[in-house]
């Protein structure tokens, strides 16, 4: 994987960040700050396929960025944005969404893989883009991940009440002077940015899993939307640490290990909540 290091002032080089495992853990928890609340909206608004389509399109963005010698983060953000915008526009026109999104999600991935095959030297790195390469996160990557994740979390927090109202019922939002289309746009932009931020951590194929599974796990115990969003961030961070531990001990791929850890947490919480209900 190509590593581009951002210029970092010498002063700001804590020795702690020299350890690749620390950087990996920080990258994963940083992503979780954004995927917790955003993933909750993905669950509430049934946008799972939307997330998939946007994430898969990022592979095309990687290919384009490498071909044009642009920063990869820029390529993935732009293409994810274009895909999210296309899907949002189609959704507004009342298309049968699961079929349309299925077509878009898989063709974006296919075109991306075909495009990558034209680039020499990238093919070997393909698994890194598909499944993530969290153990190779650089200081520059870390700055981008945390910057992007905090931007997403801050914009969701800023629009929180309006987003929730529009999610609950669009007419209710309208009557209160909230424009649901604008709130949809906020989520669309956030999704594109999260894809660009998370591709290094879990890869294009598993970003949607990182949005869905922690949110679904947090749902089992949550009583309020805020509880679920914060819980999802907690589960995401925990899954990162668990997945990394598994990956180091057993030499398993880190991205899939993180998602597997999230799934185990989901199963455990599901069991706990059904025991409680008895």
């Amino acid at each position: 994987m190509t590593t581009r290091t951002m210029p970092t002032p010498i002063m700001d080089r804590p020795a702690m960040l020299d350890d690749f495992l620390t950087r990996a853990a920080l990258a994963g928890t940083g992503v979780a700050i954004a995927t917790g609340p955003l993933g909750s909206f993905v669950v509430w608004r049934r946008m799972a396929y939307f997330g998939d389509a946007t994430a898969h399109a990022a592979i095309l963005g990687v290919a384009m960025a490498l071909a044009l010698d642009l920063p990869v983060a820029l390529g993935t953000t732009l293409v994810a944005l274009a895909m999210a915008g296309t899907v949002a526009a189609l959704a507004g026109k009342g298309w049968a969404m699961d079929t349309t999104l299925g077509v878009l999600a898989h063709s974006a991935l296919a075109f991306g893989l075909v495009a990558v095959s034209y680039l020499h030297g990238v093919r070997a790195d393909l698994t890194a883009w598909l499944f993530g390469d969290i153990l190779a996160v650089s200081r520059g990557d870390l700055a981008f991940i945390w910057g992007g994740a905090l931007a997403v979390a801050a914009s969701l927090a800023w629009r929180w009440q309006a987003l929730l109202t529009a999610t609950l019922n669009e007419d209710l939002a309208h009557a209160a002077g909230i424009n649901p289309a604008r709130e949809r746009l906020v989520l669309t932009l956030a999704l594109a940015l999260v894809v660009a931020v998370a591709i290094k951590v879990v890869g294009a194929l598993l970003i949607a899993a990182l949005l869905l599974i922690p949110a679904a796990a947090a749902r089992t115990l949550a009583r309020t939307p805020e509880g679920m969003a914060l819980g999802a961030t907690g589960v995401g961070a925990l899954a990162t640490l668990g997945g990394l531990a598994l990956s180091i001990r057993q030499d398993t791929p880190a991205g899939p290990s993180i998602v597997a850890a999230a799934a185990v947490i989901f199963a455990l919480l599901l069991a706990v909540s059904s025991l409680r209900r008895r």
Binding site: W44, L168, A175, T224
Partner: protein, 272 residues
């Protein structure tokens, strides 16, 4: 409706309102107005454009012709037809009342009490409520914005008849104490008829309009609702007789109501 707090102020006025949807004209040339302190019910068969009219008046759907004027800064409380709550969204009654504007616990409890909801339900999940409880919670939320106009879209759907009747009594009571205008849509005839000052009969256009008494005898109304009309009318009259005891009790609180009922019974309609 003089004598009501804030009575008489024009809240929403539409002239020549038309809406097109999917190539067809759903509403054409509708003139409409509602003032503060007035209960207006839009009545019509399924597909007559009732909900679309509400949405057009609230500015949710674009007009293809005509215009809608809302009072500047109009505070609108909307109670939707139904609220489909995704089970994946955890939401307590208390939290729901703080959407979209956060309110204090005291305000939330007062609103619940106003709509006859036990404060014990505040911690309950929205999707665990019964239909009647949910409608009252929706109403409580709408009231928290101190609305000048309440808009209710078939708000009693899924309620049984006693539930429906007590819901409309609550609406009348709120109108009496706050002076808000109330705009309702319905296709159930008799309860609505008894609770309204003015009824607008809609079928893509305004068929007829006036006090419940006048509308229920209008030939356009009978044509629209067909054979069932006689029965509904009988029920309407029957209800009026039957509820007399209650009406008296109610009138003690709200003297103007008595005037209104007498008005309707004498068949003196402003719009006749």
């Amino acid at each position: 409706m003089s004598g009501l707090p804030g009575g008489g102020m024009r809240l929403i006025e539409a002239s020549g309102l038309s809406v097109r949807m999917g190539g067809g004209e759903v509403l054409s040339g509708v003139d409409f107005r509602i003032d503060a302190g007035e209960i207006v019910t839009v009545l019509g068969p399924n597909g007559s454009g009732k909900s679309t009219l509400l949405r057009a008046l609230m500015g949710i759907v674009p007009l293809s012709a005509g215009r809608v004027v809302r009072a500047p800064g109009l505070r609108l409380g909307y109670v939707p037809q139904r609220l489909a709550i995704d089970r994946n969204l955890p939401l307590t009654v208390r939290r729901f009342l703080s959407l979209p504007v956060r309110v204090s616990d005291a305000q939330a409890l007062a609103a619940l009490e106003r709509t006859g909801i036990s404060s014990a339900l505040a911690a309950r999940q929205l999707h665990d409520l019964s239909g009647g409880q949910l409608q009252r919670v929706l109403l409580a939320r709408a009231l928290l914005g101190d609305p000048q106009i309440l808009v209710l879209d078939e708000a009693t759907q899924g309620l049984d008849q006693p539930g429906e009747a007590s819901f409309y009594r609550l609406i009348e009571d709120i109108r009496a104490t706050t002076g808000a205008g109330v705009l309702m849509v319905s296709h159930d005839l008799h309860v609505v008829m008894a609770a309204s000052d003015r009824v607008v009969c809609l079928n893509g256009h305004v068929c007829c309009e006036g006090t419940p008494r006048v509308v229920s005898t209008a030939p356009e109304y009978r044509a629209l609702f067909g054979l069932g009309t006689q029965g509904a009318l009988a029920l309407y009259r029957h209800d009026h007789d039957h509820d007399h005891d209650h009406d008296h009790a109610h009138d003690a609180d709200t003297p103007h109501d008595h005037a209104h009922h007498a008005h309707a019974d004498h068949g003196q309609a402003r719009d006749a």
